[in-house]
Symmetry: C2
Subunit: 225 residues, 2 copies
Amino acid sequence: MHRLYELAVERSYNTGDIILREEQSADYVFSIRRGYAAMVRLTSDGKRQILAFLFPGDFVGFTSEDNYHYGVSAIAPVNACRFGRAELEALVEKYPVMDRKLRFTLTRAMDASYELLFSLGRKDSLQKVASFIWYVSYRHKKLAQPSNPIHLPMRRSDIADFMGLTIETVSRAFTVLKGMDVIRLRGAYEVEIVDMDRLRSIGVVVAEPAPYERNDPDYYPHKAD
Amino acid sequence: MHRLYELAVERSYNTGDIILREEQSADYVFSIRRGYAAMVRLTSDGKRQILAFLFPGDFVGFTSEDNYHYGVSAIAPVNACRFGRAELEALVEKYPVMDRKLRFTLTRAMDASYELLFSLGRKDSLQKVASFIWYVSYRHKKLAQPSNPIHLPMRRSDIADFMGLTIETVSRAFTVLKGMDVIRLRGAYEVEIVDMDRLRSIGVVVAEPAPYERNDPDYYPHKAD
DNA sequence: CTGCAATCTTGATATACATCAATGGCCGAA
DNA sequence: TTCGGCCATTGATGTATATCAAGATTGCAG
């Protein structure tokens, strides 16, 4: 594993700096060491979608195409390690364990991506914002950072572009959550979660036990054949 | 590679059958051999989001959690191979090439997922439906299936639940595209793409060459802390 | 062929969110 | 400390899409 970091180049970025540019040849993979970044995609008419927020420990830059189909920029000062794709693949060839590690990393990114897909497609604005706050708290906890009075490393416009909303709608959702005594704000970036259970119940709207009315459940449970 | 299929169990499913159930223990991985399926997530209030359509050759069932966080059901008669996760991992351990193959498969799924994320967050209904038709045509082409007069294997409600719309809105978008002479319909499931370029230009709204005009050093004014 | 049921289309209305427009609060510079 | 600019918040209005409600096709069963 430390072999990996021998071929890394460490780099620093300030807030707003571009780490990786859309349509650039996909020659590098980055791992975020400190700070926060966002994977960004832009439309021809000036709209923006954030595909993922990157927290310390996250990797970015894997793609099946020749070029990146997204940009990455720092939303707070970032330290990142840059790996050449070719060198990385060579190393992986030598140490097959790496491959499993990378695969697991990708699988986690997939799960996060499906979670967001679900939010974007089928949650209303309040549910989106509630699940977003819950998500940031969760990620901070995983990193052993303060997870209750949390610091949001991103601005309202970033939240909006992540959740498919506008800044105004995000702001109003914060106001509603405050009014419900679910959260409290100390400045726009410090969120105290007063009622974690209620926050979760607003934002995490997955279905209960038996979700598939339509179908004949002949096949479940799949016995070993 | 054929070693892989030695530990597969082949199974058939009819339209509407459940291949894999949400919250089930994630013990299997499936590869679709024939037919079409959908990864589905449901909300507590009865809404549905399709996370991905599965075409022949696609894999499903990898997750970083202990349980699946989505269901999979057949939207047309399906033949699928089922692999035990444990056996698969054991095989991978023995033949490291497999790992790279799986990783690449996952990377492609990621790219597709980001594409959908973008559509859900920032496209209007016409753009969503146009890009959807384009996507199905593209997938058929990759499978060496007819890609111009295309057969849609899914119903309007599936398209709606994939694109975060309602069936009515999807239907209206089809009508608009017909009116623009971009597509022609022969029954609800047969789509002739009359003007592929226009279809693409409506649905694929990625930004042009220099996408980051706004992102001078000053774009995120919340400067270095 | 005929009839029925499912699903798609079309129309009318409601509504959540976007857009437009101030106002207000925080933070860094001087 | 005060000032000025950048964001966030709040308010008023507009609009795209959801919802509610009929019809119109399609395709299957008999």
